[in-house]
């Protein structure tokens, strides 16, 4: 009997072989339950960690200004500087109104209504500032809130009452409307801290922006790292949705422009077949941990008391601080050289549901450059639609 004939005969016999299997269903059912529980626990852990981080930062932001020793925000120092009525040269009210009219700086007549930038102390604010300082102690003067303003008002001579006494014809026509507009604009000046998280489109099945084709070869991006013992060989890798968390601080440059930077952390997980020490392994996991620094420029189209709309462009540099594979029971680590550069553009909307706390949503398109990083959703699908969302705090 020839070899081929022998092989074919054995293949036929073995292909058709059936045998009553030992009953392992109970073990399978237990395994399925365990996996389901792990998925629930993992989701719960991520949600709990995010909630804890947000709560911790929210507590820091809210508790900070209430303690006298912790008053560090320039806006607070500018508004409630511990002056007495005797120390401030109070000009006659007619002279002050005349000064305001000349400079068209009408908004300054009501400094306690709006948060003032660090440049504010240079501006003349004598009329209402002094009575507030006199009536309300520094630590108890939440002058930026409307309630606090109304509480402080009885001690202050209302400006509009004074104007009534002087006669409205003595004031410019846009005196009151300009004040409101200015107050609105002032809100765009406010610097902000954002706690962010990202949702990213992930598709290995031909969805939006998916680029079908063979996986990157070992000479391109997507290799397991500079000194990698690992080489992906799977032509259909599976990617999980990246998890991104971070903090960003935005500083106002002008009325409408702001610049932002911060720190982000991103966790990427992929699953594919690979060669490890020249042995092929199926369905190995690859876990990447990136820390990044974004830099963004935003232009604010709309800024009302409750809603803001803006467009932004950004760039980011990220460094992979840890790469780990899960190959069966082995979990080898591998160093990653270089950094990941990316750019993104999008529009955003923010909602201020209380004066200093808001939520925001930033849908955007991001592009990840080919920087010889390990195979991940970023090398496989460089153009991604993202939705960043988070909490925003005025500082």
């Amino acid at each position: 009997m020839e070899r081929n004939e022998f092989d074919e005969r054995l293949r036929d016999l073995l292909d058709g072989a059936t045998e009553t299997a030992p009953d392992v269903w109970e073990g399978i059912a237990r395994g399925l339950d365990r996996r389901r529980m792990l998925v629930i626990l993992r989701r719960f852990s991520v949600a709990a960690a995010a909630a804890a981080a947000m709560l911790a930062i929210a507590l820091l932001v809210f508790r900070g200004p209430r303690t006298e020793n912790q008053v560090v925000a320039p806006v607070e120092t500018a508004q409630v500087s511990p002056v007495t009525i005797d120390e401030v040269p109070v000009a006659p009210i007619e002279e002050q109104i005349a000064t305001f009219t000349q400079h068209q700086a009408v908004a300054q007549a009501k400094p306690v209504r709006t948060p003032v930038q660090p440049v504010a102390p240079a501006q003349p604010q004598p009329v209402v500032e002094t009575p507030v300082a006199e009536e309300a102690p520094v630590a108890d003067a939440p002058a930026e809130t409307p309630a606090a303003v109304s509480a402080a008002q009885p001690a202050v001579v209302p400006v509009d009452e004074e104007a009534g006494k002087l006669g409205a014809e003595d004031l410019p026509a846009d005196f009151w409307t300009a004040d409101e507009a200015s107050a609105s604009r002032t809100r765009t000046h406010t610097s902000q801290i954002s706690i962010l998280s990202n949702l990213t489109t992930v598709s290995s099945e031909g969805g939006l922006f998916y680029k079908p084709g063979a996986m990157h070869s070992s000479s391109q991006s997507g290799k397991g790292g500079a000194y990698s013992l690992v080489e992906p060989v799977d032509s259909s890798p599976k990617f999980y949705m990246p998890l991104t968390f971070g903090l960003r601080v935005d500083f106002s440059l002008t009325d409408r422009l702001s610049i932002g930077t911060g720190l982000t952390y991103t966790y990427l997980v992929s699953r594919y077949d690979l060669l490890y020490n020249k042995v092929r392994y199926e369905d190995a996991y690859n876990q990447l941990h990136y820390v990044g620094i974004p830099l963004s420029l935003s232009y604010h189209f709309v800024q009302t008391r409750r809603v803001g709309v803006y467009a932004s462009v950004a760039g980011a540099v990220e460094k992979c601080v840890s790469q780990r594979y899960v190959i069966g029971s082995e979990t080898p680590k591998d160093a990653v050289r270089g950094v990941q550069w990316s750019t993104q553009a999008g529009v955003g909307v923010e909602f201020w549901f209380v004066p200093r706390v808001g939520i925001y949503f930033d849908p955007s398109l991001a592009y990840f450059f080919d920087n010889s990083q390990p195979l991940s959703i970023r090398t496989h699908q460089p153009l991604q639609a993202k939705l960043e969302a988070g909490f925003r705090f005025k500082i």
Partner: protein
């Protein structure tokens, strides 16, 4: 509970994608007797039970990736082959080659008609008795249809080593088949 036999293959797959436990049970009962011999071929009976369980867990985990390219049974079998190979690697059996050296090179040729007297269950037992390395090469090359280069990559051996181990596996199997056949003739 729905009658297991009323599920078509497509319904069964769709229900398993939705993590329907009843459908998962039906799929297990429908395919366990076909997948168990695959594990036995690679691992022998002792370890096949564990891998059967792990293989089904992988099937339920990855069933959403089955796109209908090729038969579902073939797709499942690939998972069980991979699970078996993973098990062999974990136990480091593939690196132990001392038993391979003792096996003689291909010797006599099997006479015509001998294999017709041997059933699939008996062949399965004989293959399961082969040393792990020879068994793996034989299964991958002869039954699963991989090339020597692919077998080498899967097992971490050279192409040449794959060829020589296959030759030894054939010889050993022929010897075993002859013994079994002669024993049957005496009876």
């Amino acid at each position: 509970m729905r009658e297991p036999s009323t599920y078509t293959e497509a319904e069964l797959i769709a229900s398993c994608v939705r993590k329907d436990r009843t459908a998962q049970r039906v799929l297990y009962e429908r395919y366990a007797s076909k997948m168990y011999p695959v594990c036995v071929r690679f691992l022998g009976r002792e370890d096949a039970k564990d891998v059967l369980q792990d293989g089904f867990l992988t099937v339920f985990d990855k069933i959403d990736t089955y796109k209908g390219d090729g038969s579902f049974e073939g797709w499942m079998r690939k998972i069980f082959v991979n699970a078996s190979l993973m098990h062999l690697r974990k136990s480091d059996v593939l690196r132990r080659t001392e038993d391979i050296a003792e096996v003689p090179e291909a010797g006599g040729v099997l006479e015509h008609g001998v294999l017709e007297q041997i059933g699939s269950q008996e062949i399965l037992n004989l293959v399961a008795e082969l040393p792990a390395g020879l068994r793996s090469v034989f299964n991958l090359f002869v039954v699963e249809g991989y090339s020597h280069a692919e077998v080498g990559a899967l097992l971490g051996i050279t192409e040449q080593s794959s060829r020589s181990q296959l030759s030894r596996a054939r010889s050993l199997l022929q010897e075993k088949i002859k013994k079994l056949y002669n024993g049957k003739k005496r009876i």
